[in-house]
């Protein structure tokens, strides 16, 4: 059965207009670009950190000193500060954010919900330097004169709340990160709660559940993936946040047990020292910190995913 001669061109045109193969190929290339960018990023960090990796090896990860004069560089105080501030920030912002999202999506009158959502989206768009300035001029004095003395008085027996109240430090940085990640969690969690089909709620109510039972046992588990996604985004923002953190964390290059003490994060030290860094070793140590931050983000994301999958789920599997 020979095809008519003009059909070839027509076939090709057809392929372009509604062809599955073409769309498959084009979108594959687009998706592949994500992979390419990631690989190039790691490759650049890897080759530019060569002098530092050669000199310090893995001890870079747990060495405590950061001394540009003698050329001794270790990442531990920065890894510690980054993880500590991000974890405390999420401990504060996840319950608050998810709680607020449940109220806005399920319980609030629509007018209030819309108004709040508008404000939340405004908050998410505020540049981080503004949060940093606000923190520096309002949160830091408040911490120094009121909150930190109070914590020392009531919880001072814990090593977490000892030392002088400077106002700047891990706790202040964690608080500003909590405030910055909060709108992300609300906004995305609310969207995913609203996307739960009406039938799910109606079925739960029809079975005799109260409104709260239907929300907590049916709607929230159904929207689980979206909520987890919002937590990941918040974590990524907290780990990589630079300006606001460096303005309030105190920028001290040692690790301290007390949350009131000044510390440092990886992003903050890169931002602080990269422009004026001289010498290959100094520069490559800063690049290696970038590599460490990349690895840290991956590890923490994986851990968070495991944690959330382990604690939710039972009886609410959704495929």
């Amino acid at each position: 059965m020979a095809a008519p001669p003009e059909s070839r061109a027509r076939k090709f045109a057809k392929l372009l207009v509604n062809g599955d193969q073409v769309s498959h190929l084009v979108t594959l290339v687009f998706a592949g670009s994500v992979f390419v960018v990631t690989v190039l990023l790691v490759y650049q960090l890897w080759i530019h950190s060569e002098p530092s990796r050669a000199k310090f090896g893995f001890s870079f990860l747990w060495k405590q000193t950061w001394d540009p004069v003698t050329g001794e560089f270790g990442a531990w105080p920065f890894i510690y500060g980054t993880v500590l501030t991000s974890v405390i920030a999420l401990l504060i912002s996840v319950p608050l954010g998810v709680g607020a999202a449940i109220f806005l999506a399920e319980l609030a009158p629509p007018r209030l919900s819309n108004a709040c959502t508008f404000l939340v989206e405004l908050l998410a768009a505020v540049p981080s330097v503004i949060y940093g300035l606000l923190a520096l001029f309002t949160l830091v004095p408040l911490m120094r004169t009121t909150i930190e003395p109070f914590l020392k008085k009531t919880l001072g027996f814990l090593p977490l709340f000892t030392g002088p109240a400077y106002g700047v430090g891990y706790l202040t940085a964690a608080l500003i990160l909590a405030i910055m990640t909060f709108p992300f969690i609300i906004s995305i969690s609310r969207e995913s709660l609203l996307a739960v089909p009406r039938e799910q709620r109606e079925a739960a109510l029809a079975l005799g559940a109260t409104q709260w039972e239907s929300t907590w046992k049916v709607v929230v588990p159904y929207a689980r993936l979206g909520i987890i996604g919002s937590v990941f985004l918040a974590l990524a923002r907290a780990l990589g946040e630079t300006m606001a953190v460096t303005m309030v964390i105190g920028n001290n290059t040692s690790a301290h047990a007390s949350l009131l003490a000044p510390g440092y994060t990886i992003a903050a030290i890169i931002a602080n020292q990269f422009t004026e860094a001289t010498g290959d070793l100094y520069l490559s140590s800063l690049v290696e910190l970038g590599l460490v931050l990349f690895g840290l983000t991956m590890v923490l994301n994986a851990l968070a995913q495991l944690l959330i999958l382990a604690t939710t789920g039972k009886g609410s599997k959704r495929d």
């Binding site: 540009p68 004069v69 003698t70 120094r144 000044p262 440092y264 004026e276």
Partner: protein
């Protein structure tokens, strides 16, 4: 990758400069003198419309790096280049960078101490003790000795320093290294050091903010920031034993004191300089000019700019709170211009 981008940018730039007949010169480096450099380059362009100098204030380290990579025509730094850095430039670019001092700056110990309204005095050893954490209270015997009769409170000292690497930190730690052997062996002098105690603030404005906000604190900053932010700053004991407060005259005095022993390449630290009225924490800031410029038009433009900067340009310095060069240094520098081949 990076090289390609740089080349593309260079090609684009040279294409642009070929189109507009003006000679475009690119420079990058120190942030501390950036205000006066911007003003100079702007004024020079008005007087000579055929020369346009673009200056990016990316930091002294960045300026030296870009000069070494050959992405700028000249650099600028608050810290003289080390022998190793000069060797690197010679090996990679086949020219030697010449140091041209442009203006002077002073770094002051600024403080806020509750209940103290008189101006405090600091000797070098006391400052080193405070920034090492060995002097931890305001009523320490060492501070009392420098300030007889001042009623100092029994409060902890909060130390504030720069968190970013900076020429300001270099000048301050260079001074402390000269007056305190212990500081020299334990901390040393650099644009960034391993600070034994204290809070880090980003930039002069960050340290100024910390000192202003935190009761009983002390930090160091460029003179102009202490003046602009109305933060109290103390006088510092100089090499001849008198307490001198920083201002444009005492800073210039320090350079004049050092001019006699100035090395031929101008790579000199003028901290703790001799002279009765010399302010001890003063510094030059330098332009780093190649001693071999292949493009004759560029060579002419840069040489003429340097001469202009040392002459009429100096008049702009005081308005922006930079101390002008002493005459003795200018006459030495003018000779160095002829070394540009």
């Amino acid at each position: 990758m990076k090289k390609q981008i740089v080349w593309t940018a260079l090609l684009a730039m040279s294409a642009a400069s070929a189109l507009t007949a003006a000679e475009t010169i690119n420079a990058a480096g120190a942030t501390f003198p950036a205000p006066i450099y911007q003003k100079w380059f702007e004024e020079y362009r008005k007087a000579h419309p055929d020369v346009q100098i673009n200056y990016q204030s990316i930091g002294s380290g960045g300026g030296i790096r870009q000069l070494t990579e050959g992405t700028v025509d000249f650099g600028a730094s608050d810290m003289p280049m080390t022998d190793q850095q000069i060797k690197d430039v010679v090996a990679k670019r086949h020219f030697k960078p010449l140091h041209f001092p442009t203006v002077l700056g002073g770094v002051v110990p600024a403080y806020s101490v509750s209940g103290v309204n008189t101006e405090l005095k600091f000797s070098g050893e006391t400052l080193a003790g405070i920034f090492m954490g060995k002097i931890a209270k305001w009523n320490d015997a060492a501070i009392k000795k420098d300030n007889p009769g001042v009623n100092l409170p029994n409060e902890d000292i909060t130390v504030a320093h720069r968190s970013d690497a900076s020429g300001t930190s270099f000048v301050f730690t260079d001074y402390l290294s000269k007056v305190s052997p212990e500081w020299k062996s334990k901390v040393g002098a650099n644009t960034a050091v391993n600070w034994p105690v204290g809070l880090g603030g980003k930039g002069n404005e960050g340290v100024a903010g910390l000192v202003k906000q935190t009761p009983n604190s002390i930090g160091y900053m460029d003179l102009i920031y202490a003046v602009q932010n109305k933060i109290a700053y103390g006088s510092v004991k100089n090499a001849s034993g008198s307490f001198v407060k920083a201002d444009l005259n005492t800073v210039t005095e320090a350079a004049a004191g050092a001019a006699k022993s100035m090395p031929e390449d101008f790579r000199v630290s003028i901290t703790n300089a001799p002279g009765k009225n010399a302010y001890p924490i003063s510094t030059f800031t330098w332009l780093l000019i190649p001693d071999k410029i292949d493009n004759p038009a560029k060579k002419k433009a840069i040489s003429e700019f340097l001469k202009w900067m040392m002459g009429p340009g100096q008049a702009d310095a005081q308005g922006l709170s930079f101390a002008p060069l002493p005459m003795a240094v200018v006459s030495k520098e003018e000779k160095q211009v002829s070394l540009i081949k």
